[in-house]
Amino acid sequence: MSENQKKILEMLANKKISVDEASQLLSALKAEASAPENTAEVGTTGKPKPKYLRVTIQPSSGHEHDDDADRVNVRVPMSLIRSGIKFTSLLPTEARDKVTEALHDKGIDFDMRNLKPEDIETIIEALNDLEVDVVSSKEVVKVFVE
């Protein structure tokens, strides 16, 4: 029983509110508690869970009509990223070591052995705040979630 429910029952016991009023208040509390299930999925931070990772590359203004101006628009479902991360757990140890080594050579200090399935949701939720904008003279690259 929640704190609010207890308060309502106490008020009813002290005859501060009628049975009808108590019933209405309890119904309102119940509706409030079940509301998040009916709306979009929310994360622990209260923000809605991202559904897609988007990567777009557009030519910057002034280069729209260039022959070599490529446009890229990729939408990756978060569930695919989730499954992909899970897939890494099946990699043999030697392969993981090689990936970690290759990342280290590129200047990325990330150890794939530390990637655990229980961290996936935290990573996905952290992506909620991700927004990368790279503007060069020819292209605009955007990475974001939606």
Binding site: Y52, D70, R71, N73, R75, P77, S79, L80, S83, K86
Partner: protein
Amino acid sequence: MKRPPMLMRVQIHGEEGRFPLWLPLFLLLPLALALLIILSPLILIAAVILRARRRQLPPIARASLGMLCSVRCIRTAFDVLCSMPGLRVDVSNRNERIYVYII
């Protein structure tokens, strides 16, 4: 509930013309399942050899480990397949366009 992709829409626009294509992936799923059943002994043997090669285990333990590993691989691969609906890739330039959408 997760479901495997049903359709794949592919569009290729080039200087020679347009090439729109709808691929019914749901028709390929029974074929993939049949292929998986036929290849499952080979998958098991490969898993036993590759996964448990370096372990000093009795053959029965290696076989069990290999079977477990191959089941996990198939399950994860199916998970990846089921996560694909919604994937959209659109790459274009002035003359060409490639568009792939999995439904």
